[in-house]
Symmetry: C2
Subunit: 392 residues, 2 copies
């Protein structure tokens, strides 16, 4: 090999995305495989109007370099929402803007993980976290996820008996499972993380997509100075603007600033100003009600179709928000084989395997319900039933 | 300490930016310290019109998730310019879009550098590269920069006698010095890098800002499969859009994709579409002629004022493009002391120290000439003269 690459690159997990991209160009395929919010529900007109005003009134500043931390009024907006909606004592000084919340995974791993250090995560867990963390060569400490949160005994054991001082979880409408932590689990993991001086990294990309519109108590309320919350405008406003944020104690923020500045100086300033303008001139809560109304109908429809059409052979979670539903396969059906069979029937699902560290997840699939309309969901489930039968 | 941070964070160099930011809010200060292109020369109206058209015709796609590699028509535009302007055989498959070219520093370090690996760089060198590379804990191999390129003997010795297989340089109008590699130096470093299987990372953030408008031969022409070029729209279109690119061989691109996807999934899609629309509906070369016309006048003015006012006490480089000029201080004047004295006189300069690994650069300053008008340059140099005298 002519190039001398760093050892860490050999730790990248096999990516399933190549396979997915190969089929994503085929418009005849109904896809439940991706993780896209509904394009139809993005307020393109509202965002275009915000962009027009920003560029007209403030263009020369919005197009110039800015500070690493991010646009202060946007950080103040975010902090205020944490105070008012979640009862947390957030200030703008604890908020930083990033290029979509995926960047938090990379930067926090950079700040916290030496090679070999333990990193706790849910099993199944978000595949983007596995990919990002892997390049820091940690020791993964997966904790099985139940319908109400990480298995409490294994969670305690992991934090008590291993070197793991950094735990990553998605308490609300998890990707991939769609499940949420119970109130008791939030309290338990938060208090136990704090007690063991373990940072609890709470990815809340989906918290605003609760079907009932209610805010759930963040784990940070209990983890306190050991709690970090990662947020995203991708599901609230639009993903293409690549705008997310981190909410963390100042001691962590000061290192975060170093990592962020080295990584890309600062996030897109125009996008930050557009989003701020949009949020302050739009009724966000009413926009979100419209979005989750559609997502809830899609989710119920998909769940009902599974119940009707698979008669107990597929056991699925019952998400109360978010964009994903998780289904367990019966013995004898392998998730990757079902994926292949699905492609032949022109329906794409996501096998469970990339959501696990190591060789697991062959017995489950993830289904996205946010990016297909009701007709597509019905037709897609028909096709999945055919593919399922071909896997026997 | 309650948090368990990664060891790499202790390797971050002391940042001078805190000090700079503390003074940057003071509008009475004339600043030659920063690295901003001229706000007045950003085509805000043209970009606003491009944004309007993109959002009107293509908004729902531009606001959705997209591919990690970047917007294909933009990558094709970039590849075409390499073919037509530089005679390189670039294809879109060798181009990837990033959040400003600073991100290339982070991602390439991630791909190439194990802790302890040698990384070659110019001395003085771009401070953002020192910051980004430091977090990967390499062994820095600085090569003194002459007026015509890296010292050839030390360059050869470094690549021949050390483990350094990765060299970072800025052949055109370097930051901080303003100097450029001679044709002979381009040929020599490119061929020698290739001969020693060393990747030559050619940061070309300023190549389009040649005062005479002419393209210089890229080092990659000689380094070939060992050549990587990093490009940026920050100085060509606008920095706030955070859009740059990498041009690298496909074997490197395939690892770059893994690193980029883990780091932030993809770059801002709206910005990519705006820039592409802008570039394909504007006469870029005539826009650039206007920009470099102003920068050249500013640069000559600053150089002439130094010659007139400091009578040989400040020896400066004579850039043929870019945004920076470098001046050597006489014995007895320390760059940090001059910075402090300058602030008291309401003029900001950049001490040479952050551009070196280790304790050097006390005998030089960097002056930015792109972000001040002629009156500010004249007045600022008067103030610098006063500050200079106070340092005696």
């Amino acid at each position: 090999m002519p190039y001398h690459f760093a050892d860490r690159m050999a730790h990248a997990p096999e990516s399933f995305l190549g396979t997915l991209f190969a089929v994503s160009g085929d418009l005849d395929i109904i896809s439940f495989a991706g993780g896209l919010p509904s394009s139809a529900l993005i307020d393109t007109e509202g965002i275009a109007e915000a962009a027009r005003l920003v560029l007209e009134e403030d263009g020369s500043e919005a197009l110039q370099y800015t500070t690493t931390g991010g646009y202060l009024p946007l950080r103040e907006y975010i902090a205020k929402r944490y105070r008012e909606r979640y009862g947390l004592s957030a200030t703008a000084g604890e908020i930083r803007i990033v290029n979509g919340s995926q960047q938090n995974l990379d930067l926090l791993a950079k700040i916290f993980l030496n090679p070999g250090d333990g990193v706790g995560l849910e099993a199944p867990g978000y595949l983007g976290s596995i990919e990002a963390f892997s390049l820091y060569q940690p020791t993964f400490c997966p904790v099985p996820l139940t319908e109400t949160g990480p298995d409490p005994d294994i969670f305690e054991k992991t934090l008590r008996d291993t070197s793991c001082r950094f735990f990553y979880g998605i308490p609300n409408f998890q990707n991939p499972s769609g499940t949420s932590y119970s109130d008791e689990a939030r309290r338990h993991v938060g208090l136990f993380a704090r007690e063991t001086e373990t940072v609890f990294y709470e990815d809340d990309a989906f918290g605003e997509l609760a079907f009932n519109g209610r805010a759930r108590t963040p784990v940070k309320k209990y983890a306190q100075e050991y709690g970090i919350i990662s947020g995203s405008f991708s599901k609230i406003v639009a993903p293409g603007l690549r705008c997310g944020w981190i909410y963390a104690p100042r001691e962590i923020i000061s290192l975060f600033d170093i990592a962020k500045q080295s990584a890309d100086l600062h996030s897109n300033y125009l996008s930050q100003k557009i989003i701020h303008r949009y949020l302050t001139t739009t009724d966000l809560d009413s926009h979100l009600r419209r979005v989750v109304g559609v997502y809830e109908r899609n989710c119920r429809l998909m769940g009902d179709l599974i119940d009707d059409m698979f008669a107990g052979e597929l056991i699925h979670t019952n998400p109360e928000g978010g964009m994903f539903l998780w289904a367990m396969l019966p013995n004898g059906i392998d998730a990757r084989a079902l994926f292949e069979a699905g492609i032949k029937e022109q329906v794409a699902i996501m096998p469970g395997t990339p959501f696990y560290v190591g060789n697991a997840g062959h017995d489950a699939i993830r289904l996205n319900f946010s990016n297909a309309c009701e007709e597509e969901i019905s037709e897609g489930m028909n096709r999945l039933r055919t593919a399922f039968d071909r896997c026997r």
